[in-house]
């Protein structure tokens, strides 16, 4: 009876396998201890009472989901700030390399490069604004104890994440175009290493952020099913 109850609670938290496993072990330990402390002689009756005292698994799963999503949002808030810093450093390294090697753009690409530069800067600063706003939004508020209020918070946070991620993707794409312009017309040499390496860092940072944001959106959608089944 206890194993079935713990399993059903863990099943509801299937969107996060680590959490589900941890909860199952904690709940089983709790219920068996509760049974051991029960003065009744009938073990089945003691199990039934322990489960009844523990509460509605749907409600507990929804509260655990809210705690788990809040923790993940906090991690993403930090990730956004680190990713933006990483991309900024990579951009600055590349520009410093161009200056050090006096690597000039070809004449006919100047105008296009200026336009791309404006797009690049605007997109990057948009990402900075979105990222810092997202991080501050999460860092300044305590975790919501209920899933509905947590979901509302996640929606707002994901909107800020989407602004930051969209801005970063646009910045990385325009960086890629600018780097391609800068490298075009030159013979392949070891000088290409820094621009290509910094571009790879930018792409990896942006991909990391997209992965994390998608993961939270996926988990939120799975957690939302807890509310739907509760309402049904």
């Amino acid at each position: 009876m206890i194993s079935e109850y713990a399993e059903s609670l863990a099943d509801k938290l299937g969107f996060d396998r680590l959490l589900a496993r941890r909860v199952r072990q904690e709940v089983e330990d709790h219920l068996w201890e509760s049974v051991a402390a029960d003065p009744a002689g009938d073990p089945l009756e003691a199990q039934r009472r322990a489960i009844a005292r523990f509460g509605d698994p749907q409600l507990i799963a929804a509260q655990l989901a809210a705690a788990s999503l809040a923790e993940r949002m906090r991690k993403i808030g930090v990730t956004i700030v680190l990713v933006i810093a990483g991309i900024f450093v990579a951009m600055k390294m590349r520009v410093a390399w161009y200056e050090l090697t006096q690597w000039a753009l070809c004449e006919n690409a100047q105008e296009f490069s200026e336009t791309m530069g404006i797009i690049d800067r605007s997109a990057f600063w948009l990402a900075v604004a979105g990222g810092i706003a997202g991080w501050a939004y999460i860092a300044r508020r305590p975790a919501a104890p209920s899933l509905p209020s947590c979901q509302e918070r996640i929606r707002r946070f994901l909107l800020l994440c989407a602004i930051a991620t969209g801005g970063l993707i646009a910045a990385v794409i325009s960086d890629g175009v600018l780097t391609a312009l800068r490298l075009s017309g030159w013979e392949w040499s070891a000088y290409f290493l820094i621009p290509l390496l910094t571009m790879a860092i930018e792409i990896a940072c942006a991909a990391l952020l997209v992965f994390h944001v998608r993961e939270v959106a996926r988990r939120m959608a799975r957690a939302a099913q807890l509310l739907k089944s509760e309402a049904a």
């Binding site: 909860v23 072990q25 709940v27 330990d29 509460g55 923790e71």
Partner: protein, 110 residues
């Protein structure tokens, strides 16, 4: 009423030392003179939430029964948060006590 103060109650229950979920509930029950009867499962979301906020730390141990057991303890931040909440609660308690006392005095015939 209890729901809004659950985090503070859990922190206070852990002030005596590290404990697992069941022991936290027992401590709450004992120290409240068995006045607080909350669904036992609701303590776990609070424990997870407080851990995510950095107010608690936890680790797996093995109980005498051989089962794996998650033991929670207050972090420095948790101790500070509890101390802050104690001050706020004492001020609130004095204020409410004063209000209710005055109200009773006001109603009494002169």
């Amino acid at each position: 009423m209890l729901k809004g103060h659950l985090d503070m109650i859990v922190l206070a229950a852990l002030a005596a030392g590290p404990a697992h979920g069941y022991a936290v509930i027992e401590e709450i029950r004992r120290r409240s003179g068995e006045k607080f009867e909350l669904p036992e499962g609701t303590v776990y979301p609070a424990l997870h939430r407080l851990e995510a906020a950095g107010l608690l730390a936890s680790r797996w141990t093995t109980a005498d029964s051989g089962r794996r057991r998650r033991v929670y303890s207050l972090t420095r931040r948790g101790e500070r948060a509890l101390a802050d909440q104690r001050v706020v609660w004492e001020q609130f308690s004095i204020a409410i006590g004063g209000l209710l006392g005055r109200a009773r005095t006001g109603k009494s015939p002169a």
